[in-house]
Structure formats: structure tokens, C-alpha cells
Amino acid sequence: MSVAEHDTTDVDAPVPGPRERTVSAITGEGGQELSSRAGMGAKELLREVGAVLRMSESEAAALADIEADPDEDQTMIINMGPQHPSTHGVLRLMLELQGETVLRCKPIIGYLHTGMEKTGEQLTYMQGGTNVTRMDYLSPLNNELAFSLAVEKLLGIDGDIPERAVWMRMLLSELNRMSSHLLFLATNGMDIGAVSMMLYGWREREEVLRFFQKVTGLRMNHNFIRPGGLAADLPAGWRDDVLDILEMLPSRMEEYEILMNGQPIWRERLQGVGVITAREAMALGTSGPILRSTGVAWDLRKHMPYLRYDQVDFDVVVGAYGDAYDRFAIRLNEIRESMRIVYQILDRMPQGDFRVQNKKVTPPPRARIDESMEALIHHFKIFTEGFKVPEGEVYVGIESPRGEIGCYIVSDGSSNPYRMHMRAPSFVNIQAMPHMMRGGMVADAVAVISSVDPVLGEVDR
């Protein structure tokens, strides 16, 4: 058994003297680490200095900030993370420094890997939501939504979802976008040194989570959006709770603007830091606020609408410079756009069912079980065996607060996925970090990590 082998190799080996066994020998990741400069291929280096391989080498060299790369003995490699307060969890960056200038950077990930895609193959489609909701733990409802939409497409019931369920999904995913961006403002503030912003961001996010708790029963990891609809209807008084949030936020957002945008120190810490161009951002596959900060107006809600986003009015916020300040400003203003959408949802929320009445997919109402033998059988089958999904494969991508979150499911006709893959936006976005950091200061590295806003839960899955 391969796992056991891995666990015992170090233990059984003759133990070297305490002096010989260095820390790096225990914690090292071998080939995954930043390689020596001599061992680095020209292609890799070109990619890092901004040549995204659609331009010639001379063009790429002209773009590089540093005229010539120094010798190896003039530089120092340091580890930032995995245990570092500004790495948002367990991101580890190996930085090559010359003085205080970052020359190269390599993100090393996997410290939070728990095999969630493998776990997803063991769980039925009914249980799958509990798994995917834990990936991006700051926007759990968007994860569930991507998974549910993929399963519904495989089942062929994506057109049958009742209107109320669709609008409820939009309501929840927009509120989730607000809570996620509020937390970004908090952590971004903390990383740059505006510690009071941390308290405000967490405080406001908690108001949104309190609403989620009332609706779903949990602050996070809801498993509320399920294949076929939602787990329950909105509770009584939900409209007032949402309005409370919407009425509280504008004045608080103005306070943030005074505290952050209005402050020269804040602007100077972010403006011109971690710059990336539109072409580079697209070549590296980034999405969400990072892509939009470069001026590319690309938002799946607007340009490839899902749910009923084509029926609500909102703007796609784009930046111009592709720097950390743009990414901050985009998220701040996306909260406002989400509020606009939520107001429209409040006006238009239809009456009706909150899940599709297809007894093969959704469990019957509790009362029916007492009076109908058939309902009891359906209930039993759904919660033991799960529902079967026809053979096929499908990819569904939606706009999460961090970018495109996609779910690729292959079904073999049984009641659990044959393969379940999540395209995690943070996993792709951190690829852009080495390029954003190159030539900047170590202190700015913190600003860059923060502006990418990675969630390591979905990076490592």
C-alpha cells in the first residue's frame, strides 16, 4: 500500500545525529522548490519576466524591469510561508532576493491538499454539495451552484428549475459575493497595515453570514444549493433581513473610502504594485478581478449569463492599470453592483416552489411520507442509493468572487460521479504571482498576495 510506504520511510531509516538532520531535510519538498538559477530553463524565465511566448525574445527582454539577472552568489532565497499571517492560509512562496528586490518567486502549494476530487467520486450527487462547499470556504454557495448546475445539465433538468429557486440562487450567490469581498477588504487592509479595516470588514461580513445562518442553518459550508433546487425555502422575514444589510452597507462603504482611498499611504502602497497586462493575464488563464483590473471587461454573469443575470441590470467594473489598487477598487465597487442586483432580486422574487418536483431527484415533502408508500420509497432511495445520472460529461463555469469557478463532471450512469473536477479560480490566479512580483520589493509581495485574494482551500482542494 503506497500510503503506508510513504509514512514509514523516514521513521525506519537509521536516525542520523541530531546535528546532521537539518530542518530542510525534514520539511523540504525536493524538486518542487525554487530551482537554482542555473537549473532554470530559459522558457520559464521568459514567462516570468512577462514574455507570454507570443512575443519575440527581444520584445520580452525589453519588457523586463531588471536589465540583467545577477549571479547566483549575489542573491538570497527565502521562504515566505506556509506559516505567515499574510499568505492567507498555507501558501508558501520561495523568493529569490537581491537586497530587497524580488527577482524570482515560486508558489509552492499542496499543504492543504485533502483529496477532495477523490472524495467526490465516493459521494453521491446528493452528498457532493457537502464536499464542494468546503473548497472555496469564503464563497461556499458559488461552489455549490457550479456543482448543482453541472449535475442538472447532466440530468437534463436544467430548464425545469422553478423560477423561485433560480432567483433564490441568485440572491444567495450575490450576498455571498458581498461577504467574500468584504472579507477581502478586511484582509487586504490588515496586510497593508490598515488594521482597523480588518475589524470593519469582518464586522460587516458577519452581518451577511448571520443572514446565511438564518436561511441555511450554517454560517459557512451550507450545502444549501443542491441539484434540483435548494434545501429549503426562505424563512419568514427574510426580506427585512436583506434590507437591513443593504441599508447598513452604503454608509459603511463611504467610511471605507475615507479610510482607504482617501489616504495617501494606502494609495501609494497599492498603486503601481503587481502590474499585469491584459495579454499576460489572459495568457496565464486568470479570471475575475485580476483579469478585469487589466481593462478586459469579462464577467460571466454579463457575457455568458447563467441563472437570470440577463434580466437584471448591473455594470461590470473594470480597471485600467492592472495593479493592486485596481483590484482593490474593483472588489470595493463590485459590492455596490451586487447590492444593485440584490435590490432588483427583492423586487422580482417570484412565488412558487424552491426545488424541482421530480421525485427521482428531490425528496418528497415530509408530510407526504406519512401518507404515501411511494413517497416513502422515493425518500429512502434518494438518501440511501442516491439518484442515477445518465452517462456523459459536462463542464459548467460561473463567476465566483475570485473568478471563473468551473465544475467538470463525468458520469458513468451510476449515482456517484465517475470524475468530479473543480476548476478553482485561485489555483490559476496564483500562477500570475511570480510575474506580478518580479522586480518589486519584498514588502510589496504582501500587497500582491493580498490583491490576488487566493483561498488555499480551493487551491489545494
Partner: protein
């Protein structure tokens, strides 16, 4: 078995590769030899963004119908492309045999494929030839086996409880 059989005269083609529909989504079935060539041609068509690249191990579905008469192999590399200008998605599926799990890297076409290819190598053991840094990305460097393969035994870590044999 669906009706994706060899209906040669109606079969839609894209750069010489058959196109099939999967739940309303367009899928191109590309032979392994033409992989990089077709991807470059698709970039020229406007599919300039690689959204996702992953693998599937079809060990337990050897007789599946890929469609358009394509011979199924054990592994499949699945690439999801996006065209921002055309607002379209396209999926590319490549059959990769189990006894020789190698395929060319897309690094030169889409630099953003780097982490995806490392992950697919880590999880499936599919080797991307020409990749600049093909190392494990999620699992530890000295890990044995490739966890998302269907013949990989997830195993269990023995847990000891006080006074009980578990």
C-alpha cells in the same frame, strides 16, 4: 450506446477533427499526434484562453462510446477553451493510452497551462513532454502513485485508540 456512430457525411469537422455535442456543449476529439497543432489553430480561431486542463482515468469504462468512431483509450486529457471575443466555449478531448501515458505540453501555446499540467501529472501520472517543470504540485515530492487513478488504493492510516484495536 448513443447514435454517435460513424455518420461520415454529416459529421462536423474542425481542423480535421470530429466535433460532437455533449449536453449541448461542443467537444472536439483531437488525436494525440495533432494535439499541439490543433490547439494552435484554435488560438488563431479566437479560442485564446485556456480555462481548464484536467485528466480522466476511464479504467472502469473500457467500452465507452467516445463518439464519431474515435477509439477509446484509458486516459483522456480534457481541455476547456474560452473565446472572449466570440463568447464561446469549446472542449478538447484527447485519448491517451494507458501503457504510454504521454502527451505534448501546451506551455508554448498557453503558458497558463503550466499548473494544470503539473496537477494532471501529479494526479494521473500523465507525462507532458516538454513541460519546463514537471514535478508534483499537490502531493509531497516523494509520494508513491497517482491518487486519482482508478487503480490507486486510497489506503488508510492506522488509527490507535487507547485500549482498543481499531
Amino acid at each position: 450506446m448513443s447514435d454517435n456512430g460513424p455518420a461520415a457525411e454529416t459529421q462536423e469537422q474542425l481542423h480535421g477533427c470530429p466535433v460532437i455535442e455533449s449536453r449541448g456543449q461542443r467537444v472536439v476529439l483531437v488525436p494525440r499526434g495533432d494535439y499541439v497543432k490543433v490547439m494552435k489553430a484554435l488560438v488563431a480561431d479566437g479560442f485564446d484562453m485556456l480555462v481548464d486542463l484536467t485528466g480522466v482515468d476511464y479504467l472502469q469504462m473500457p467500452d465507452r462510446n467516445v463518439g464519431a468512431g474515435v477509439v477509446p483509450e484509458r486516459f483522456e486529457v480534457v481541455v476547456n477553451l474560452l473565446s472572449i471575443s466570440r463568447r464561446e466555449r469549446l472542449r478538447v478531448r484527447v485519448q491517451v493510452p494507458g501503457d504510454e501515458p504521454t502527451i505534448a505540453t501546451l506551455f508554448d501555446v498557453h503558458p497558463g497551462s503550466e499548473a494544470h499540467e503539473r496537477e494532471t501529472f501529479d494526479m494521473f501520472g500523465i507525462v507532458f513532454e516538454g513541460h519546463p517543470d514537471l514535478t508534483r504540485i499537490l502531493m509531497p515530492e516523494d509520494w508513491q502513485g497517482h491518487p486519482l487513478r482508478k487503480d490507486y488504493d486510497p489506503g488508510r492510516i492506522p488509527v490507535q485508540f487507547k485500549g482498543a484495536n481499531a
